[in-house]
Symmetry: C2
DNA sequence: CGCATAAAGCTAATATCATTAGCCTTGAAC
DNA sequence: GTTCAAGGCTAATGATATTAGCTTTATGCG
């Protein structure tokens, strides 16, 4: 290794994620990331082909962290199937609350070039499908998974975007919504 | 009116929306909007204070169009409450499919300064709440509305973002999800 | 020990943006 | 006909992503 690097792909991703979480994506520039790392903007191109590629890597990392959180939640498995789904749903929401801007960035459509890797997404999906399948049977489980994901993601995104303006207990609204959906599924 | 204007706030919004729908927000610049209108970029500042303000106007228009579509769907009201909810849900999704990028832009968290007007959003919410209330009763209707909105929005956004990669009939998955949720609500 | 090398940083330059300042044109009102 | 303000314009600024090409330096080989 000639010339010891002051930086790695990983540290760049971490720094970028931290800046996104602190200041929002809008104000994220390569110059800012570089400054935070003690280098200059063009040096970042040694590690990523473009800003899009960097953001894609950030989103991939976010997805992997989310998967890890869900796997952990699934491990401390509760009794009934419904309980297990609820535990997953709350773990999902907790993750989004812990990393709101990173989460929103990864799952907003804006820049297709920055979307997280499809393979990682598939892994995420399978985590959940395994928990839904016992309720619906294998055949309907893909559709059931999609509905659950839609409900959970939609709630979390609308919540993070501040679209639930009219007060009320959002945690209990979330819980009831997931309960209602699961109840409706198992009928 | 000294000097007849070649352009109005409305034509700017329409042009911007069309460009967004055609090329995506990423490539939308004031210069491009201006060129499409036969004027130069700085002239746009006669009509909007900033690009953010213009995007906010675009998003407001999108929200109003969505509300109009939902009102129309509610007018051709079906028999049962569940049918009416389903009609609304399909109208919502059809709107998002007809204007995918505009819809995604209006309801992604990215730039808070560009979010549609809260008052318009409240009007949107009330449209739907009126249809949900008969099923849940007034007390639970706000939470029920939020769950339904989350489910519908989440499904549509994930779909538009291309996150449902594994094939299958998305329309029927959507229908089953809404059915399941409504079934679960009314219990 | 000295030297070549390639990696990892750098500076400088370009094109594109949003935005601002200030000028010019023109139609309407008196 | 003169005024005037709206609606357009050009020119300039500062930020941005990106590219080209230079400089530095640890390492490995002689």
């Amino acid at each position: 290794m000639p010339y010891p690097s002051q930086v790695t792909g990983t540290t760049i991703i971490e720094t970028a994620t931290a800046l996104i979480e602190r200041d929002g994506v809008e104000s994220l520039s390569l110059a800012r990331i570089a400054t935070a790392l003690g280098i200059r903007a063009p040096s970042l191109y040694r590690y990523f082909d473009s800003k899009s590629a960097l953001l894609q890597a950030v989103n991939l990392q976010t997805t992997q962290d989310l998967i890890a959180a869900l796997i952990e939640a699934a491990a401390s498995s509760s009794q009934t199937h419904a309980d297990r789904i609820m535990a997953l749903a709350h773990a999902y929401r907790a993750f989004a609350h812990a990393h709101p801007r990173a989460y929103a960035l990864a799952y907003s459509m804006t820049d297709p070039a920055a979307q997280p890797d499809p393979a990682a997404l598939a892994a995420l999906a399978q985590q959940v499908q395994a928990v839904v399948a016992p309720i619906t049977g294998e055949a309907a489980s893909l559709a059931a998974l999609r509905g659950l994901w839609a409900l959970v993601h939609g709630f979390v995104i609308l919540e993070l975007a501040g679209q639930f303006q009219r007060g009320g207990d959002l945690t209990s609204a979330y819980t009831s919504a997931v309960e209602a959906y699961v109840r409706g599924l198992s009928e």
